[in-house]
Symmetry: C4
Subunit: 215 residues, 4 copies
């Protein structure tokens, strides 16, 4: 993996992967065929729920990824590798959504719980890779562009980590209620869409650039 | 979701989702196998019809989306969220086209009607999300670039809403004739491709920029 | 569909569709499973042949499309619509390749002939939509940028049409030999990759810009 | 295929194909359904391994391709054709990963060996097409931009070829241990991600541009 001087192509490649993963989700929603369209449409509700929630989640992941990279001026090999791990997790979400679609119908509570636990596990993995990426960026700060207040950015690490604790909790909750767990994942995505930790900027950096960041 | 200062990346991401959704449509067209290629090819006509009509529809959706965003200079979190909902509807169209392909063959008129009603429901949902996006853009107008006559743009809201009434009508028509409903969706796409409400511009804004807009 | 002042976004959208269609081809190549991997791998040779030939064809289609659009400065609604039809044909090629993969194994010569005739029919459709697009561009020439010699470009229409005659011939040849027809489609793609009609330029247009064009 | 003066669009098209191929990998990972989610999840481990390893490999292929093309200023028809062959190999990797997923479970060592041999064969094919592309670029060097030391770049050909010998060796190793072979492919991807042959630059070319290259 190359030391790329501009981060633009890495972000374009990542954007492509996010856009494809979010669009592939629909392939995990079964198309009814054969007699009984009405009954089949109703019966597939878990796949609609998994589609909607996972679509929101990938959309927010993209927005957060985009915000962070808008402050990245240089990409080194470690960042490229961590980014690849992050994309590997996101690209697998259509599979995780398919798993939820297969087992959420309540036929077996134990199996639905396992499906949601695996699904929640992907969110834990995303939080870990995103946290590792943020940790690497703030370690020396030399990959950021000049606007970022590196010292303050380093100070956000703990809040990042604390925010991520919610995902292991949801993993545990899967064994109490699979449906509730999926709903909370959706609500959490909407919440993080509207409330994010800001990337701390130096005094005097252009107003209006106070781009909020990620979880 | 971040307040992104330039709308370019949001549009690029959206363009990617449209391009992928339009290309995934072909996966819902069954490839014949086994003896009797001729008979099978004829028998799958509903999937060809669903492919052609939905391809045109997504193509026009993309063009309209592109036109509106060419006047957007700033993206806030609400716009980002409404755009994500709009993309969620568009990304589901391969599934809706697959549903039509499965049930339009006339074996059961009632089931074909339901399939077309669901398909029309997606067009209603698209009109609603697009309308909400247009409503948000014209509310204060501060997300538009300087060329747009915000007052006049706000005045187009009613015509937008009236134009969208056609989709619930087609939903109702599904129960009269599923084939006719699909054909009308196709004709409507071509019509809106060539006849769109213009985005009203300020006096003195560059000629030739009178980009028409959307439904 | 909007009158877009710059052709860049239309080309970016089209490039996306070509890139996705070419990559989706692999989904039509069956992955063996169950006992007898060796026998299965050999048995699927028609799908490999269809993959390789269609990959080359879409690649050349993209390159030709790209060359023509590099001379397009403005996009009107008719051009947008013709381009959408062209993309509709290209996006369907994974299906056509799947059809060839299903029937080329020689179990039934008549069915293989039909499969290749349908495949060739898509090439005829591509030549027709590309020809219509070229005809529209050269009609007035006002969509071209200043480098193009419109009068001379209009003169190439006949050579375009003559070059396209080869595809109906291959459609006919399908009924003589399906395998030979597929091989000739592949050879033709390579030939047109290296030998194309040039877009005629005005005297004094920059040297080295004598981009060859399409079939 | 056109002589394109700027290499940007070729790289954008290639980036799209890499991004799609890497995201399609997940479609080859079977989603469990029916009773026994736990047992099924464990049973599908070969598809997870194939996903992770192939994701890393395509990611590194993209990074290497990107690095080389960042030094390419002009694209001729031969380069375009060699690039198309390279993309044809990469686009087929989801199929090769699916093959490994089907046969690595150890039910039959002979069949797993064949699957890994075919998989390794794709890596050989990639090394050959990449090598051919590098050979063509360094032959005259006139396609490179001014920073590249063409003479020294030509001198790297042998090291390129030597580095590629590892892939035929892994092909042979497939018949000893399929699992070990897959693991080594993964390790090799990580290794080449962090250790690459540099593209030799002229004296005085900007510091920090010593982009390493490929295997």
């Amino acid at each position: 993996m190359a030391r790329l001087n501009d981060s633009g192509r890495v972000e374009a490649f990542s954007d492509g992967v996010f856009a494809i993963a979010i669009t592939l989700l629909i392939l995990e929603v079964k198309v009814p065929s054969g007699p009984g369209i009405g009954r089949q449409l109703l019966h597939h509700w878990p796949s609609y729920a998994a589609y909607v929630v996972t679509f929101l989640i990938i959309g927010i992941m993209w927005a957060n990824h985009h915000t962070v990279f808008s402050y990245v001026a240089r990409v080194d090999r470690v960042l490229l590798f961590l980014n690849l791990l992050l994309l590997m997790v996101c690209s697998a979400l259509p599979w995780a959504a398919g798993l939820v679609a297969s087992y959420l119908d309540g036929a077996d509570h134990g199996e639905a719980a396992i499906a949601l636990a695996v699904y929640s596990g992907f969110m834990v993995a995303h939080a870990l890779t995103f946290g590792a990426l943020w940790w690497w960026l703030t370690r020396t700060g030399h990959l950021f562009d000049a606007r970022v207040d590196v010292e303050a950015a380093r100070g956000t690490r703990l809040r990042f980590a604390l925010g991520s604790v919610v995902y292991p909790l949801l993993l545990g909750l899967s064994f109490v209620s699979a449906v509730l767990t999926l709903a909370l994942h959706g609500l959490l995505a909407v919440y993080y869409g509207f409330n994010q930790l800001p990337v701390p900027l130096r005094d005097g950096a252009e107003e209006g650039d106070d781009e909020p960041v990620v979880l």
